[in-house]
Symmetry: C2
Subunit: 618 residues, 2 copies
């Protein structure tokens, strides 16, 4: 490497070397981690943190700070080292990496104030960065968003969803850097060091793309400047690097992914080699000089759905009431934003777009970037409502998992739940969404049955901390709740009860109306049942359910969902401490096309099946 | 449109018109569906079925037939019409579309012999097509694979995962056609009719790409010929079309997605207009002339893992035994193939690659195409074992959902389950995989604890019909089963029992060893417990669990998984009919980094927590 003459470059080169040393030290102390994946990106991060990025290093959450997302999350030690280098965390704290008592986890999580979204599942950071960049527009801030990817990561389809949406949205405040070190975990990455294979893709996707030597600080600084000057489209800097750069034992070699250097001789040699790379400098690199500007921030104002748009006797699909709910909520509160995946006329998020076009983000048919972008928006103070068919949220389950790990304020809506969608068939029916959402321990899960409860619950979910999922239905259902009915996260409604109830039917959404029909039918036959609208599955009102069980003994759940993970399991878990079990009516096989009514009956969740379940066997 | 003079072209043009008429008729009869999405692709399908493709129209499952995948599954009526046009299904049967008593569902499923994989979740068909094309190599067949995509669908990241892998694998037997009709569901598609926006992407991803007028039969035939002549890379034909082509009411207009024409005047006018487009022809288009060649097929031979590679007293991670198991299984049975996502040295699928490199498919970091490709391979007779970290299977949940709908023989393996992976932290820990897999009603779910049971279960899963999931663990565990131990799908093992058991502990994987430790500790204190290895969660041996519950009364589950959807729910459901409930030890919050031992204890699933749960409360 030629000796660098510029004082700034020399100082930055030394920052990079120190970042390498810290990454090596912390991973060796931990006994695991990815030092070679840190080493390849050391100059990139040094140049970003000490020259390109504008932020207050004492206040990582300053709303106008430039943002940095470590999409290649396994390079976490490099990120931690950078925040030590700018003085935010004590350098010695780096040696607590990966310990149970330390927030410096194996992969970054927002337990750390300088991490917006958890990374470590590849291809997600860039999706979040899209949302973070959109947020700058929302709050009228000049901050720029930087995201560091790995080359291996670029095989994830979600990266190209992000590429497409960022280009369509002309996000010129977004700058990606791909650390093309040519080596994946198990062998060479797919295109090795063929830089053109990467550049031509980004260009085809509408980005400005540059290829640079990722260990040449001057080239990196020039590239960042070019990115800043590029208008109307995002920039991707493709940085040719060597994995393990600066460590001759590992540099450019296979077999060193995810391996810490062994304490003792091996570590000593690596450190000596790195230390020898410190070059003479006239002074340290100056600290970042603070944000680019200051956006006008005002105290957040909560929105309200006000008077419900529907009244008892109306019929309206809950998906439509979801749309009217978020539209009203967005009137007072500009943190409320909506995202969709080319089904806004089915999820009714178009009602939000009609009122708040500047806060509606169309993601076309790309559910991963939709949820990822919502994660980014939420991490910067927005309250995003992404929506699509609930079936297609399975496409983004890894993102939902990571949103839960980050405990982000994403408010996810899935429409077209269950067999009650009818003729479109099983590919369009969500029958596992409750299972996948309930599995996340901090996910709130809501499932309204009518227009009024939907609007009320939309308002509650917006301001309930953490991730929330609302399941909506395709068919129109009657409005059964009045305007003064109160709802709560963790609540339920007992809609029918008498002193002679022989069973409690727990239902939600479309099956609630089957339960009500069954109630009326059984009443004619002289049999009383209790009917519960379990509009909130998680958290669940275990106390009320237990009380029902104590009174009626029998508890029957009925749900437009597969057997595992839905209402049946939720209720069973809630009443188990009382020694009670549930009987389940649910969809037990892969369904097929048919009318909604036919399918509810065919799969055993219609009123007649509830009646049969309640009636004493002959 | 200029009058076509070639007799072949005239005949094909008339086929296209008849396909439009049938698509319109069937959807109007059903009262729902996507006739305009069929109309845009009518010439493409006519040219494929009556000129380009080589197949036996009386035998859709002929192993050497060219394959056609309708990736834009909502154009199902067009597919059905094509199979009526070649005489495989009676034309009048088309009018049963979307009826409960008909296999002509709203979106295609393999209930139909001419459908390999269910489509309708966009961006999946092309992934399956990659696997179908790989299968041609496996069986040394000359068949070609055609896949029809929509332009809106191209925003799905999975499409670009498929693009990348197909190019890397030089799959020149694969030919895609994108029906660029410029309109999505809710508005114009992202790049409208900008054909270059599409072509440049496919070229950047290494495909041969052509732009043609998708309503010009001659241009289409030339393009197919060019694709056939293109070696070393797949071809994408970008067909400029109009949605609703031929129907002036809807042609090129928004607001007609997913709408059937109303029976009566509207339908009559549409039909009259289409019928007027029939041109004079000298004779009908000739039927397809049969497969391109005949691959040597031999009767399938079942493989075996033979003598287990491990013996009692050894310690080995189940993930490693998974690798040795599939490697041995592949010796005799060339249907066994393996796929991985750049973690073959962690999942140990590399053991398979070492023995059977020609049947190992590296998918780099692209889990969606990995599962999609496995779906395609399975649909053509292979027995694919795709593997990655179980956490990253969440990335492919929509594919797993569709594999279940297709009831395909995919044998999915997820390693690094639970907090027992340790320091890498929550992003790498699968804690919801059992929930997501069990939710699919036809998914078999296996969770072995030691090397011997892993190998035995690998053999069982290979030949158990339908989708199967095996969960493996990162830590080494002791081998506890002898070589003569027998296992079964739907089985369990009672490892400890006595007449005085006060509780049954149901565990699997790493927690089984915690249960065994707890057993020994409690025994010292004079307390007997029963210990069950629930190595198969679905189907579950409810009878044996009920018997345990009857004897011990208390049933305690302990699992390295979140509370919902895992072992606790599976056992609770199984024993509920006897009136028994479970007490659960499980991971109840988002975990963090730490050592495996620390984390098992911190999250309440270690031996000491089992002991505390069993011991009578003070």
């Amino acid at each position: 490497m030629p000796v660098q003459t510029s004082p700034r470059v020399a100082a930055l080169q030394n920052v990079a070397t120190r970042l390498r040393i810290d990454s090596v030290l912390s991973t060796s102390e931990a006994g695991s981690g990815h030092p070679t994946s840190c080493a390849s990106a050391a100059e990139i991060v040094a140049a970003l943190f000490f020259s390109e990025m504008r932020f207050d290093p004492r206040d990582p959450q300053n709303p106008d700070n430039d943002r940095f997302v470590m999409s290649k999350g396994h390079a976490a030690p490099l990120l931690y080292a950078a925040w030590a280098e700018v003085g935010y965390i004590p350098r010695e704290h780096l040696l607590t990496l990966r310990r149970l008592d330390s927030d410096l986890e194996g992969h970054p999580t927002p337990r750390l104030s300088f991490v917006d979204v958890a990374t470590g599942s590849l291809g997600q950071g860039i999706c979040a960065a899209v949302g973070i960049a959109l947020n700058a527009r929302r709050i009228k801030s000049e901050y720029r968003t930087y995201v560091l990817l790995g080359d291996g990561e670029s095989s994830e389809g979600s990266v190209w969803e992000a590429a497409e949406i960022a280009a369509a949205d002309r996000l010129d405040s977004l700058c990606g850097i791909t650390d093309v070190n040519g080596l994946g975990q198990s062998g060479p990455s797919i295109w090795d060091h063929n830089m053109d294979a990467y550049a031509s893709k980004w260009r085809a996707f509408g980005w400005h793309a540059l290829v640079v030597d990722g260990h040449d600080v001057t080239a990196l600084l020039d590239a960042f400047e070019e990115a800043r000057g590029t208008k109307g489209r995002p920039t991707m800097i493709l940085a040719r690097t060597l994995k393990g750069k600066g460590i001759s034992l590992a540099e450019g070699k296979q077999g060193w992914h995810g391996k810490a250097f062994k304490k003792g001789d091996e570590l000593r040699k690596v450190l000596a080699e790195l230390e020898s790379q410190i070059v003479p400098e006239e002074g340290p690199a100056p600290l970042p000089s603070g944000p680019r500007g200051h956006s006008a921030s005002s105290a957040p104002v909560k929105g309200s759905v006000g008077t419900p748009s529907y009244k008892i006797g109306d019929t309206v699909a809950t998906r439509e009431a979801y749309g009217s709910g978020i539209a009203k909520l967005g009137n007072a509160d500009n943190r409320i934003v909506a995202l969709d995946g080319d089904v806004k006329n089915s999820t009714f998020s178009e009602k939000f777009e009609e009122e708040h076009a500047d806060r509606f983000y169309e993601n076309y048919i790309a559910e991963q970037v939709m949820i990822g972008s919502a994660m980014g928006l939420a991490s910067r103070g927005a309250i995003p409502f992404p929506s699509t068919f609930a079936a297609f949220l399975t496409r983004a389950y890894d993102f939902i998992r990571m949103a839960a790990i980050s405990n982000l304020n994403v408010k996810i809506a899935g429409s077209h739940a269950g067999v009650s969608i009818g003729e479109d068939g099983p590919s369009q029916m969500a029958l596992e969404d409750l299972a996948m959402m309930r599995a996340q321990p901090n996910m709130t899960v809501i499932y309204p049955c009518d227009g009024v409860s939907t609007e009320r619950l939309v308002e509650l979910m917006a301001y309930h901390p953490g991730p929330v999922y609302m399941r909506t239905s395709r068919p129109k259902t009657p409005v059964i709740y009045g305007h003064d009915e109160a709802f709560a996260i963790g609540g339920l409604k007992i809609l029918r009860q008498s002193t002679g109830d022989v069973a409690t039917i727990v239902a939600a959404g479309v099956t609630l109306f089957e339960a009500l029909k069954a109630h009326d039918e059984l009443k004619k036959r002289g049999i009383q049942i209790r009917v519960v609208d379990l509009y909130c599955l998680q958290p669940i009102d275990a106390e009320s359910l237990l009380e029902c069980a104590r009174v009626t003994k029998r508890v029957i759940t009925v749900e437009d969902h597969y057997a595992a993970g839905g209402i049946g399991d939720a209720v069973a878990t809630a009443i188990a401490p009382g020694g009670f079990t549930v009987e389940r009516l649910c969809v037990r096989e892969i369904p097929r096309s048919g009318t909604p009514e036919e399918l509810l009956d065919r799969y055993g969740i219609s009123a007649s099946h509830i009646v049969a379940a309640v009636e004493p066997k002959a």
